[in-house]
Structures are given as C-alpha cells and as structure tokens.
Symmetry: C3
Subunit: 244 residues, 3 copies
Amino acid sequence: MIFLYTDFGLEGPYVGQVKAVLHQAAPRVPVFDLFADAPDRRPKEAAYLLAAYVESCPPDSHFLCVVDPGVGGDRPPVALKLGRSWFVGPGNGLFELVQRRAAGAESETYVIDWRPDRLSASFHGRDLFAPVIGRLAAGASPEEAGLRRADPPRFADWPDDLPAVIYRDRYGNLMTGLRATTIARNKLIRLDGHDIAWAETFSAAAPGQAFWYVNSAGLVEIAVNGGSAASALSAGPGSGIEII
Amino acid sequence: MIFLYTDFGLEGPYVGQVKAVLHQAAPRVPVFDLFADAPDRRPKEAAYLLAAYVESCPPDSHFLCVVDPGVGGDRPPVALKLGRSWFVGPGNGLFELVQRRAAGAESETYVIDWRPDRLSASFHGRDLFAPVIGRLAAGASPEEAGLRRADPPRFADWPDDLPAVIYRDRYGNLMTGLRATTIARNKLIRLDGHDIAWAETFSAAAPGQAFWYVNSAGLVEIAVNGGSAASALSAGPGSGIEII
Amino acid sequence: MIFLYTDFGLEGPYVGQVKAVLHQAAPRVPVFDLFADAPDRRPKEAAYLLAAYVESCPPDSHFLCVVDPGVGGDRPPVALKLGRSWFVGPGNGLFELVQRRAAGAESETYVIDWRPDRLSASFHGRDLFAPVIGRLAAGASPEEAGLRRADPPRFADWPDDLPAVIYRDRYGNLMTGLRATTIARNKLIRLDGHDIAWAETFSAAAPGQAFWYVNSAGLVEIAVNGGSAASALSAGPGSGIEII
C-alpha cells in the first residue's frame, strides 16, 4: 500500500489528482492518507512527524511525501529504499530521520532523473513523484522508474529528537518531536512557562488539566482532558519545549 | 460496506490509519466516510445524528463508530448486531438510539474481549475497533472476532428525539436531533428567540430568510437561503430548541 | 474514473454518501475527489475552475458536478457528453465553459427525466446525479440512465475567461479565472491596487514577494513566496483583477 504524507491539505484538487495518477500507474495498489496536513512548508518538523508515523504503518508500505517549499528550485527529487519500502519526494531533509533511524537496515538512495512530458512548475507531487512511486509500487525496477543511485544531501546537524511542538490536531492536542522512549515518565515538559506532568491517558487526568502522554505513534503529546492544549497553553507548531 | 462515523476530523493521521487497518482485515470490503466530524466528544448528540444517518445508508452496511472521550477509562468496547449490520465502538451511549429505534428487529449485543498485542492509550479506533469490525465484515463469527454476549449499559433516560442543534455543516445549516416525522409542518421551531417556519427547500424561502426543512436524513434542519443559519441565528451544536 | 466536483466540503456526510451510491451503481469504477470546495454556491466561478481542471484530468474521465444553490427550484438536471466523458449536474451554467471550450468535439446534451423513488429536497447529488452518472460510467445507454436529448440553457454572455479570483487554496494562493495562455508573461496583474509581475515559480520570487505564475491547471494564480497571497493582498474569491 502507498501512504500519502503531504502538506497539500485535503481541500482543493491536490490529493485527488495525486490519487488519480497513482491509480493509473498502480491500479491494484491501495492508497491511504497518512497526513495531508503535515507541517506546512516545514520539511524539518515534517521529518520528525513522518519518522514517527512510519513506525505505526504496516511493514512494506510505501510513502509518497511532499513538503516542498523549494519546488522548482535546486533541491533534487529523491527516492529512498528501506527494506522493501519506497520513500519518494523532495531531497530537502524530509527523509533525514527515517533514514537515520533505519541505520543498519538495507538502504539505497537515488535521485530521480526521469521527467514527465509536462512538468508543472509547482505540482511535482502529481507530475513527478506520483508516477515514480506508482511504478515502483507496481514492481518496476529503479532503472525502469528513472532512478539513479546517488547520495542526496543529508542533514547531520539535525538532532535525533526535536524538542518542539510539531503538529496540532483538531482536538488541540500538541504532538512534539520527542519519542517517548527517550524520556522517563517522571519528567516534566516545560512549554511556555507551564510544567506538564505525565498521565497514562485522558481519563487519568483531571478535567481541564494539561498532561503529556505517549501518543499512538510513540511521540510525547501534550493534551488537556476535555479541552484544547493549544488554546490552554497558547502554543502550536514551532513552540519550543524543555524536559525538566 | 463499512461506514466510518467518528469525531477524528479528516485532518491528521486518524482516518487514514483506520482505513489501512480495515483494508488489512477486510481487503474486499469498501469503506466510506459517513462523518469524520460527528459531535466532538459528545456521545449523546452523536447518537442522534448516527441513528438518523444509518437510515439513509444502504441496508446491511456496517458502522465503525468512535466518539469516545472516555477512551482508556471504564466504558466497555462493544459490538451490536442489528439484522445483518454490525456496529462497533465505545459503550458510552453512542448506539443507544440506533438500538432503541430497531426495537423489534433481530438484535444481539456484545462486549469485545479481544485485545491487540499493542493497544495505544488513546487510539482504540485504529487498534481495537477497526480490526474487530474488519473481521466481522469479512465474515468472521462473533467468537472469532473476540466478542462475548453481554448487556452493555443502556441510556433509558435519553429522550427519543433531542430538541437541540446537534450538527453544523459547512454552509452553516443546523441539524437538530428531531426527526421530521415527529413534527407537523405548521409548527414553528424556536431557537434563541427566533420562531422559524417550515419551507420545502431553499428555493422556496426568500433570500436571507431562516426556515426549517426536512433534510436528506429525515432530520429537522434549520437553514437560511443563500446564507448561514449558524451566523444569522448565533447558534450551533448544543443550542436548545423548542417546538411551538 | 469518476471525479467529484462539488461545494459540499469534505466535512459532513455529503461526499461519503455520494461515493457509497456511486459504488453501488458502478462498483468497478474508481472515484476521486477533484474539488469538494468548489466556489461555494457560485456556479459561474465554479464553471471556470471546472473547465481548467478538466484539462488536467485523464482523458475519458467522468465528472459528477454539484454547485447547486437552486436545488429544488426550476433549474433542470442535465447531462453532457463530450467525446467519451460524461458530465452530470445542475443546468445552471456549471458546464458552460467546459462545453464552450470543447466546441468542435463530439457533444451531446441531455436533461435527466429519471427520478428516484425517494428524492430529498436538498441532496440531489446523492439521490439523483450520483445514480445517473454511476449508471453511465458503468456502461448504460443514455436512455437506460433516464436521459432525454435536449438543449439546456446556455450562458452566452459569460466571458471566455473570468478576470477575478475564483479560488483560494490552503496556502493562501489565489487562482483566477484567466487561462495563462491568454496573457503574455510581461503583463502585470492588478489586484486591489497591487501590480503583480510574473515569475516562473515560488523559488524564483523573493521571500514575501507577490507574483503570478501558471498553476498546475494552466490558470493564472497569484502567490507569495513563503506567505499567503490572500492575507498579503486582502483578497479572495470574488475579488476582481485587471491585466495591465
């Protein structure tokens, strides 16, 4: 199966047109939305969110990933093979954490040399990345899909975990770039002057109380039982946090 | 087919991850979104909306339903069989009206004893409810799906129809918890001091005029021709109404 | 394949119920979202957006189109065949530009005489248009689908291109009703007192700078590199533009 991980939003024609292209290239491969609201034009934050959620998807899934503020510039289009999974998207750091955490696994990196007859200036997700991952998911070889072995840029100075809010969901819960495995449960998370303690889950916290918990992708997430952490703490994507 | 009825929102990873799990459990069963924006963390209002929309879905459909503010607490996970349709979700009243209105039909109630190897604290929709309804939709017996006959809590004090706004759509139309079959068309709906008369449909009302009509699920819905009832009447989910 | 082009929004039950009906009528025909947020209750603007995006969809696609503020009134339900593609929806001008630009291609126009047993007052997308296009996509003849040859109203006074903003996407980019092929790239677009020059794409414009470019559907689109044109220019759907 192919998961879509983009900042396109579900509104507008973007996700639908990508799915139609995928269907043409790989009609028997099911396609699912992972995020259509990945951190907007922020490849770094998006890289941490992606790496966490890849862990909670079935093995051998493929990932079409587009958070690409430099579309049309000089960032290369890239493809990454980890085990039997393909990742296709812009070479702007979006796969840095996926790749780093897969150290030890079989890994191959490529740039995409293939270009379509008509490449729009702004929608490489539809015109370039979707046909490539479609072909790969349908069983084409890297060469048949227009890939060439290469070593795209890495982002070695990025930390292994990002001490910041990286995603706000519809409930106002705040996902951070910290894997919960890196933090003891007696630690507090400091966010904009608030010191926030761990709770197992919503029903273990008092109504209106902010707490942090291990979310369903293994990330430290800050929430308020029966309320919105984003509103209560006046925080959102980009807000820095500290472990106390 | 399986319908999804949740308050997850379409944003974020929630609906997509649930669909991927359903696909793994029941690859040949098509899945459709009914509501991803059911009344947010309000099982009672959500129960009336669900009961109305079940009526407008094809017979023998299955329903994966998650409006579950008590996730991780002591509400039981439940399954309900009505005729050939399965309903799976939290035992917090969400199925109260579906079950009550099906009185007379063949009905079986279960609690879910099965637990996955990894059960996240907050996302039972993906980890618990989706695998169970997927197996049931694919033809597993209740026992194979990990169900046990039981009598989950009922909510007998809830009224048969709920005199309140339960849903606001993108046009600003306001759905109520009242079935239109319970109200004569010469009745007025009183909402926050406004007395609102019936009209057949939008084009039968003057531009800018508030009216109530029978919506496509058979509920009393308040609308404004060419405008937003929510804005014009300063009302939304939770606003009480009276029949005059 | 069938594309959905509506102003239903993705929230609520509308798109999902339409897809379930399409699946029942044409289970082997894949369905994709084109726009669920077409210009809200504005068939004229929606007609220009539709015509542009039809061009970027695969040939022989079908289009279920509902921007229908007059639902239940006297606008006829119509079907249009262009080549091997079917368009089904309200006869309120929504297909005017598609039809005009296809001049020369094989074209047939119909009104829909068929009515379902239960036709809701407000949701003809689900009850009337979806079953009809489903049958047509599954191979039914116009007669079998309940169509009758006719000449629905045309809107000859609408211009060939619309000098106005017709869509705002999630990034704040502003699509206009102007095909880029009609404008030289040394022209400026005047919007609310701002004179905006062409750039190839985002990375060719300075950060924070407004520019116009040819979007992925061939329309003139106004954007700000790293920002929101809608916010920077205080503009949105309906704002008029001039070519300077």
